[in-house]
Amino acid sequence: MSELRIAVPRGALFAQTLELLDRLGLSTREVRENDRKLLFEDVGIVTMRPSDVPTYVEAGAADLGITGKDVLLEQSERDLYELLDLGYGDCTMVLATVAGEDPAAEALRRLGVVRIATKYPRIATRYFLETGRQAEIVEVKGSVELAPLTGLAEGIVDLTASGATLRENGLVVREEIAHSTARLIANPVSHKLKAPAIDALLERLHAM
């Protein structure tokens, strides 16, 4: 059994995370071959949705985890150590609305408040608060691009890598809110009690 347990995000960061773990000398073959199994005790890997990674790491159910900065910003109150910017999984949190005259600006001017659909209610709330604008934040779980096309909201706050999905749905980026990459996080107690193992891993990551 491995000394450290690492929470690995399935989804957009999955492939590059496994590549990174391969280069660190962890055997990820079983993880790649088995997409139903979640816990790989021998190599110390657990797989889960990216937004669950901070939950497991904060509770100490995993010692380390890899997830996007977007997830960490959305769950900023969690008690975690953010150890390293891993550099991959580049994307940007943006405010987007339909192309042409900006309906969000119009709503703010004429109605005093803009409706924003998002999967990141806390980031969106904070952003509009900090920029001094009133917004009604509508949380959705799935394809957020649908919201401005159907009249649910005037704009969206969402993560985009290439902008392709936004363009296909006739949306344009109006403002960039934050930049995100994959981060290595640690449980604060593990960081103290398993210092040699964690530092050895960090050393190898720095050397890469």
Binding site: G60, D79, L84, V189, K192, L193
Partner: protein, 327 residues
């Protein structure tokens, strides 16, 4: 219809109470034997009492009006009430004072996180004893209490709240940036710390120092071969270490990155861990400036253990032990 209780509170039934009571009785015996007499103070205090110290995130969360319109708070820890008690009831008595307590404190909670609004703390305060002797005494009582609780694998992190600020001073970092840097450090955001340090445009060696120091933690070797500006700052930790019996010293993790959020700590800070449990079970440290704010300037040191968390760690340890005994 079912009557609910507020989130973050709960009922305790006999099986659990019996175990908690047995554990606190064992801890109480340790405190008594070490000469720490038990005190109790009111759960409600005037807001002005708690407002004397630096406002911090873990300050009082619950305020009520009394019949005269005074604002009262539910205490958020026992250190401040005991500082008040010493400054009033023991105004003319000769220090040092040794007090212990078993009392509930009240804090706000974040939703869905299993945090408690009301939690039982077991702790001691040693008032009128300076570093390093006072600090060493309190660390010894802490380890004896954890042994008595039945924990076998616990560790105590020892840091110094003044160490990193002293380092920033030596490097001439201006006060604005300083606050940002200390915030990143308190949040455990090393990526953010790196960005802040990069923005300072320091000499590469100094920048490396600011980034490396908070990651240094481990056995006594952490205190050896320290770079220049840290040499002096680490003397305090070395002096405490030199006074400890081996069974206490062996429990310590020296941690140059340990900075506590509680506003009143001035020197040594401690945090209690157990590998069987992912969150710290107790905190403590020196608060040499606090008593002065109540009109009785005296150096002081103490700790508070979260009894419910000790119990969780104890049950996880026991589960681990019985699993290992299976064939």
């Amino acid at each position: 219809m079912v009557d609910r209780i507020p989130s973050g509170t709960r009922d305790f039934l006999p099986d659990e109470m019996r175990e908690l009571r047995a554990m606190t009785d064992r801890i109480r015996a340790v405190f008594e034997r070490a000469g720490y007499g038990e005190v109790y103070t009111p759960a409600l205090e005037y807001e002005t009492t708690f407002a004397r110290t630096n406002p911090s995130a873990s300050g009082p969360a619950y305020r009520v009006f009394d019949e005269l319109g005074n604002v009262l708070v539910l205490r958020s820890d026992m250190t401040i009430p005991i500082a008040r008690l010493v400054a009033t009831r023991y105004r003319d008595a000769e220090p040092p004072f040794r007090f212990s307590y078993f009392a509930h404190a009240y804090r706000s909670v974040r939703p869905q996180r299993g945090q408690s609004r009301e939690f039982l703390q077991a702790g001691i305060e040693l008032i009128g004893a300076t570093a390093p002797e006072g600090t060493a005494e309190v660390l010894t009582v802490l380890c004896n209490a954890l042994d008595a609780a039945g924990l076998e694998t616990y560790r105590v992190g020892l840091g110094d709240a003044s160490l990193y600020p002293a380092l920033l001073d030596r490097l001439g970092v201006d006060p604005d940036r300083r606050e940002h840097i200390l915030t990143e450090l308190a949040n455990g955001d090393f990526v953010g710390l790196q960005k802040e340090v990069d923005a300072l445009r320091l000499d590469p060696e100094d920048a490396e120092l600011l980034l490396r120091v908070p990651q240094r933690r481990g056995g006594p070797e952490v205190l050896q071969t320290l770079p220049g500006p840290l040499e002096a700052a680490a003397t305090g930790m070395r002096a405490v270490h030199a006074l400890l019996a081996p069974e206490v010293a062996n429990r310590l993790i020296f941690d140059l990155g340990l900075v506590r959020g509680l506003g009143y700590y001035t020197g040594a800070v401690f945090q209690v861990y157990d590998p069987a449990y992912g969150v710290p079970m107790g905190i403590g440290g020196r608060y040499d400036e606090l008593l002065g704010q109540f009109g009785r300037p005296l150096p002081a040191v103490g700790f508070a253990l979260n009894v419910e968390r000790l119990h969780i760690a104890l049950t996880s340890e026991e589960r681990g032990r019985s699993r290992r005994q299976l064939p």
